[in-house]
Subunit: 304 residues, 2 copies
Amino acid sequence: MIKLLATGASGFVGQALQRHLLAGKGGGVELCGVDDAYDLLDAAAMHALIARHRPDSVLHLAAQSHVPTAMQDPAGTLQVNVVGTANLLKALTDSGFVGRLLYVSSADVYGAVAEAALPVTEDTPPAPRNPYAASKVAAEVLCLQWQRSHGLDVVIARPFNHTGPGQRDDFALSGFARGIAAIALGLQPPQLRTGNLQVTRDFLDVQDVLDAYLTLLQKGHSGQIYNVCSGVECGLHEALQTLMDLAGVQVDVQVDASRLRPGEQLRMCGSHQKIRADTGWQPQRPLRETLQQLLQHWTQELTP
Amino acid sequence: MIKLLATGASGFVGQALQRHLLAGKGGGVELCGVDDAYDLLDAAAMHALIARHRPDSVLHLAAQSHVPTAMQDPAGTLQVNVVGTANLLKALTDSGFVGRLLYVSSADVYGAVAEAALPVTEDTPPAPRNPYAASKVAAEVLCLQWQRSHGLDVVIARPFNHTGPGQRDDFALSGFARGIAAIALGLQPPQLRTGNLQVTRDFLDVQDVLDAYLTLLQKGHSGQIYNVCSGVECGLHEALQTLMDLAGVQVDVQVDASRLRPGEQLRMCGSHQKIRADTGWQPQRPLRETLQQLLQHWTQELTP
């Protein structure tokens, strides 16, 4: 068995990872340190964590990833996402760790991308538009510096949007599914307030994302950056319509201008050519199935 | 008069800036906040600093810039250089600052450069080899993100090696000059222990660097990155020989392997084509004169 330490194991992706591995989908990977409490900003605690578990591989998921919070508190976000990553890196090299670190960055690093540049490849220069995205670029730079300076085996993932049961409802598709489920249950009138539905995004099922991470830990090329994405450009309007069809409800949709983020990218889609070529990974789960699972999840949650 | 706030005013470059402006070389620039005590990590203090002086322009010099310290304490270096820069940026935009911020990065961001890529242009992708260099890339990314998100007028300088009277003697040329001065004064035997003298670097007089910063504040193109360098590749051996010639001493030179930094770049030289084309700046002071001034400085310092 490969002992994998995942930071941020209690977050949305971390919890999905725990279920994924419990369901036997990890191919010989077992998680360690899931129930440990630690603070990325406590260097001594990070050293102790690594020393206690001596992991074979590390998946660095933990981050302050809420963009509005990052805009209000850039310094706090950089602390957790950059200084915290430095503490993890130092703990790894100080402890003689010789395995692979998969750093989970974000497609947010690309910022505003010209439509002609879609689908975005990893060669597109990062141009972050908020402090969260800037912190992810900074941590990528730091991880790659650690590889140059210390020979640490580092791979970087840039996940695009992903969703699945358990995601908070302030993410678009989870929020839509919650609203539609509540309407189907008769808990609220058939009206939804949404952000800009003209926006397109590249959505993956979180389980495809987990498959990608586990594949990159084994087959990614060291020092490389990989988009983790569907390669499919999906309009939010289309996703919302699919949810309504699946639930069999008609909904009056009102666009709420206050939910439009300043400088928001209108269209977004990634290329997964590199990860497919280097590792063989490709997305397995159609978005319609993911949306169905989101509906089921929220229907269960909301059923009185 | 243009009110310029320079962070790090008590450092080597900051003190040289104060003398430069006192000597009337600033062309209508006056410094503010020179004697203020503040901590870049204290967000409230940074807000108060900006509110107190309401500067027209800001030169962000303050940093933890000692590479060996950065290797021992990466987290502390990222705190000051990245989180500290975030505090400054937020204080500026929160206060309605509409002037220009010149962020002083470093040629260290380039890391190891293939000899075929010399002289290095600004298009060379950063590849930092120590946490100090990584912190400088991260702060560049953050400044440019602030420009995209808030419209802040940002220019970035990447100074190469620079020296002048007042620089600490753990920098190569200042250390050489101190040793040669001590030998010329008969204070030590004619022996010097040095690092690798095969190394080449691109050296500027600190006054040329200050001219470049003041020029970039007025004429640099917003959102651009500029090398600040001589464009001349100078061997350390050659600089040491010039110092011996100027002092009229012969010295037994011993290379101390313990002073070789791991992964050190052998040859380094920058291109100043971009700053010349955009602003007209070019270096004015021959290295021989700078070395003469270093010798005079250390001779005065060491004369009993």
